[in-house]
Amino acid sequence: MKILVLISNVPDTTTKIRFTGDNTAFDSTGVQWIINPWDELALTRAVELKEAGAVEKITVGNVGRQTTEPTLRKALAIGADEAIRVDAEPEDAFFVAIQLAEVGKDFDIIMAGIEASDYNGSAVGGMLAELLGFNSVSAVSGLNIENGELIINREIDGGSQVLTIASPVVTIVQKGIAKEPRIPAMRGIMMARKKPMNVVSPVEAKAKTEMINFELPPPKAACKLVDEENAKELIRLLHEEAKVL
């Protein structure tokens, strides 16, 4: 089986978010970029399946400019066999899905993180399945391959669900798909430099959404301390200021 793991290049989760151009663009100055945490877990599971002999090849795919290559190189160091980068600015989820549909046709399993930690769109995986005509299953927290059959675990309200599904399939994965993201070994880092980084041109596509502007959440109000004897004042504040009563 051949797996394509979709890799989003996102700002480190501890990044202090700023905007430029009158709040119309993300300010990437000084930002450290990482593999989207859900994608990293998906890749880890793919590597585990390959080590168990259930998968023959792992490809990682991304839509982005050359600046995303260090992130893809890390994915190769973790254990992917090759990378495909569609050389375009990822304008919106639809645009990204169109591009990935072009490169994702020949895979048995496509793994997409349930969302990317920057825009939290949760849209690419489903769109991609539709565009490719693949089966798709979301909120996947376990993926096993036994005798060529895909066995999937899903977390559902109050329990979990086990199902089998025919490939080709897009699995939209969440936490639990792997225990911890794999830390690449030095040998992996060394080998990554020799693995193929295939750069392909984008196909004609038009974004369906347009970013108007961003807003930061309002700064947290200062904490008000109420004397323990003064329950009345606490109730007044909860009622009149916090308006929760």
């Binding site: 190189r73 911890e180 070994a185 040998r187 880092i189 430099r193």
Partner: protein, 381 residues
């Protein structure tokens, strides 16, 4: 001049940082408190390929440059001095002389298992009465009937007596020429009759690393356990210490970086007189001085690595790096404790451990005083 790390060096830095934060940080305080050597962490460092990083692949190495290795030590030391000590000593003192001076048979016999972290190797130089004056060594090695017979003792030997210690490279007096001692290095394997390894306890610092006393009592090893040539011991020792200085410097740099980050975070959070203490000029200037010292230390150390990687002489810069990085670790961790106030004296705060761990760095692998002698000689005094 290019001050950028390569994409690969940056990935190594991020990877080792991730490992140290995820796997070492949660247990470092407890291991230190219990003075417990961590076999699982040593195994993990081996799995990640942190041992033998600069060695060729055929010996189990990763074929990386010196700077990549130094960055790895720095990143581990940013979180924990003890694990950094295990890593630096095994690479610079255990693996390095075997690789540089071992014959092919010796390399193939020892290096692969030392690179996976299944086994450790130590370097026996310091003796109870021979520290800075290494020529005062009294341990002897006599060649008799195709065997070296070793007698004497060593002290403060890192990785010398762990359960997985495979052996030690022993510096011994093998004779005399013109009234001067001849030094020879010999490989002594754990389990050889007459070779006793004893773990030292009661350390102030690096409490989760393995420090040992070694005793040789008519310890007989085969003649082929000679490392390098007879009489080459001083040269092997000096070359090994040159490389070792870079890793001790990296430990100083990492310690300073870790202590500084803790102090900065604490100063921004801790409020006194109605504002964060980082807003008081006296603390802000302290933090600025820390950042400055760390920047200077990193530039000096990375330059020394660059010289080594480009086949240029680096002895002077290695000594300068070792001296400077270890001394700023002392200054930075001291001020970091000061910024933490009373909390900095408590074991609940990692900065307390950093303050203790840095203290070895001005003493081990050539004291600050010896580094100044080395530098002064190299500048022609």
């Amino acid at each position: 001049m290019d001050f950028e790390l390569t994409e690969e060096q940056q990935l190594i830095k991020d990877t080792v940082r991730d490992f140290a934060e995820r796997e070492i940080k949660p247990v470092a305080g407890e291991l230190d408190e219990n003075a417990e050597f961590s076999y699982p962490l040593t195994k993990r460092m081996g799995e990640l390929g942190l041992f033998g990083m600069t060695l060729p692949e055929k010996y189990g190495g990763q074929e990386l440059d010196t700077l990549s290795y130094i960055i790895a030590v720095e990143e581990i030391a940013r979180i924990d001095g003890s694990q950094a000590a295990t890593l630096a000593a095994h690479n610079s003192l255990g693996i390095s002389p075997l690789f540089e001076y071992g014959n092919e048979e010796q390399k193939m016999k020892y290096l692969p298992q030392l690179c996976t972290g299944e086994a450790l190797w130590s370097f026996g130089l310091t003796e109870p009465s021979a520290g800075s004056d290494s020529r005062g060594s009294k341990t002897t090695a006599v060649l008799k009937n195709d065997e070296w017979i070793i007698n004497g003792s060593k002290i403060f030997i890192t990785n010398g007596s762990a359960d997985i210690t495979k052996g030690c490279t022993v510096q011994a007096v093998s004779g005399e020429k013109g009234g001067k001692k001849i030094f020879t290095t010999i490989l002594a394997e754990t389990g050889t009759p007459g070779f006793t390894q004893k773990t030292m306890h009661g350390k102030m610092m690096w409490r989760a690393s393995n420090t040992s006393e070694l005793y040789f009592d008519d310890c007989r090893v085969p003649q082929e356990n000679l490392l390098g040539k007879i009489g080459e011991g001083s040269h092997i020792m000096l070359q090994t210490l040159d490389g070792g200085r870079l890793s001790i410097a990296a430990m100083g740099l990492g310690n300073a970086q870790g202590a500084y980050e803790m102090a900065l975070a604490y100063a921004k959070e801790r409020k006194q007189f109605g504002k964060p203490i980082s807003k008081f000029q006296i603390n802000a200037f302290k933090l600025a001085d820390m950042a400055l010292k760390i920047e200077l230390a990193r530039n000096l150390l990375y330059k020394a690595c660059w010289l080594k990687d480009n086949g240029k002489p680096y002895g002077k810069e290695a000594a300068m790096s070792k001296l400077y990085c270890s001394e700023i670790a002392k200054e930075v961790s001291d001020e970091a404790v000061q910024i933490h106030g009373g909390y900095g004296l408590m074991k609940d705060y990692d900065v307390e451990r950093f303050y203790r761990d840095q203290r070895l760095l001005q003493i081990g692998e050539g004291t600050s005083e010896i580094q100044r002698i080395v530098i002064s000689r190299l500048i022609g005094c």
